[in-house]
Amino acid sequence: MVKVIIDDIEVEVEPGTTILNAARKIGGDIVPPAMCYYSKLQGSGGKCRTCLVEVAAGSATDPRPMPKLVASCSTPVNDGMVVKNKTSQRVYDNRAAVTEFLLINHPLDCPVCDQAGECHLQDLGFEHGKERTRYEEKRRTFDPIDIGDKIKLHMNRCILCYRCVYTANQLTDQRVHGVMHRGDHAEISTYIEKAIDNDFSGNVIDVCPVGALTDKTFRFKSRVWFLKPMEASCECTKCAGKAVIWMFGDEIYRVTGRKDKYGEIEDIDGKTAWICNECRFDKKDKSMWKIEGPRVINRHSVISQNQYIADDQIESKKLTGK
């Protein structure tokens, strides 16, 4: 085990652990945000640069600070390493700059975006955003396209985290979408009109940190914070059938995987509980699910604010509109 200090808190982790995962072991608000890293997807991380931290001391044997900020998701810890995240103004400033970079071409269409309320970019903007933009140029735009009959791609909102690419590589037998072009014209695309058609393809929606990939069966149906998330399970031959069903009264508006506070699908019985497309898109009837109880949402999110009230109150809210 190696010892590392992050924001003045000491933690012991296995050698080879990344700074980010060491911070997650400590938990709380010292955990750097991560827009592209996804612990369940091999090879992810390093790209968005929002998890940059300052290494004030490299290791016990070589306590020199690292000259550049490092991506905490892909930098392994050394014994005696001292890391500054929340305690570093430099980290805050540069993270704010990364946020600005991610937002200059973003459409800021949160009012009509299905991801609003559970969007990591929204959270990041809230914590690090500037109140006005300095970007006077024309924003880059793409047309929204369907990739398959159940998934909508809004490339304008994409931050090119590559998570959906890794998901298709690692969960499905054939990847039919990828990153085309390069630079600020890089885009996620199928290149030819082709449906993403695979039992697990819907997971690209769950891993997307922003509203670039959304569930067409849920599109414009409701704001997520008006829904009640319930843990539910079903008998499924393709996946573990452990999901979160998002209810409005007795109706299931959408089905997602069970995401933890970092937005990652949880492990159940030692296996990441990705759900299959049938569970996600087709099982919209309450009778198809065994409801296990309310889902605890412990992210800082509007969803967690207004959730845990009894069903009858939701009903009355629906009637009075308040």
């Binding site: 000259p67 892909s74 392994p76 600005e100």
Partner: protein, 447 residues
Amino acid sequence: MGRKLLLEHANVPGIETFEVYRKNGGYRSVEKALKTMSPQNVMEEVQASGLRGRGGAGFPTGMKWSFLAKPEGVPRYLLCNADESEPGTFKDRYLMEKIPHLLVEGMIVSSYALGCNQSYIYIRGEYMWVLEIVEKAIAEAYSNGFLGKNILGSGYDLDLAICPGGGAYICGEETALIESLEGKRGNPRIKPPFPAVKGLWGCPTVVNNVESIATIVPIVNDGGAEYAKIGIGKSTGTKLISACGNLAKPGVYEIELGLSVEEFIYSDEWCGGIANGKKIKACVPGGSSVPVLPANLITKTAEGADRLMTYESLAEGGFATGSMLGSGGFIVFDEDQCIVRNTWNFARFYAHESCGQCSPCREGTGWMEKVLRRIEHGQGHMHDIDLLAEINKKIEGNTICPLGDAAAWPVAAAIRHFREEFEWHVTHPDEAVKRNFGIASSHMPLI
């Protein structure tokens, strides 16, 4: 004229053929290394030579080699980076076009030293005809027993092949090069792990520039110590300089490191001064990524010392008043050139070449390009200048690979040394549009 270690025979007719090359002393280093030296001996000579990577970063080659992991039963690879794409740099092309066998010879000796049995040359796709020249040289080396199984009866086997890129500056970055060689998009990898541990196909890999590898030949022939006698301090040996821009005699020159910049620019032996009898306004001494120097800091440092063609002297004064030797792409601007237009041009280059993987580079390079384009076209504001400075500070150091820095430095340096020219574009929008060649009467003291 200084000593020529690489280009000595460049103009011998037929030197691109095995026969002529061999007659002029070619492949001696292979014979010497394979017959009389152990791989470790070769490595020691390279370390003793003080050779620094000629691709731009200037990292000691011997040290880079020493980092190569050597796990049992795992192949190791030597890759030659011939993806020469840094604006202002065209030396590797010259070398490969003229004396392809020098590179092949260098690859054999270097591969021997590193214990590689399969090596590749990755050449930029635009140099397709150069690829054919080198491929022919490789075939000749095979048929003469310098490549393949049991080279010269030494028991050492080596296969060498050349592969093209497809038009992407970023593939000059070593991990992007590896990705590209694996048939993928040229996205630089997240480090660690470094290629020396996990490179091509997950195996330990060394990536060296064409010129660095060619230089191994004279180092093995004459010994590292002899090589180290050339040059000054930590800048040992000779270096190919690609001289271009508004020079009377642009071209590729092999200089002994330590030559004075003044002599290099103005002597008839080298560049012969500025073209058309004009004055020098600025110089980018090491390829487009390095900071531009205004006229008063080119031949002299801020302290008034003579500026020399060495890694150290060109960097004298840090980024405030210095620059870098970089890849040796020596770009000279005459008095009529517009710094704003050129800065925009470079910014456009980097925006075009960004792989788009990490956000500061993807978004930042495009942003800088757009702001600079506005300023150049008479639509700039005063606050844009500070905005540019701010953007480039936030790109620098925050990206996956050095392309972010390479995009940021030229903009920062141009604003640092030529701020008035940017301001002039803002305050004189109409003139800036009409006279987009810029302001000939620059405020900078002209030599």
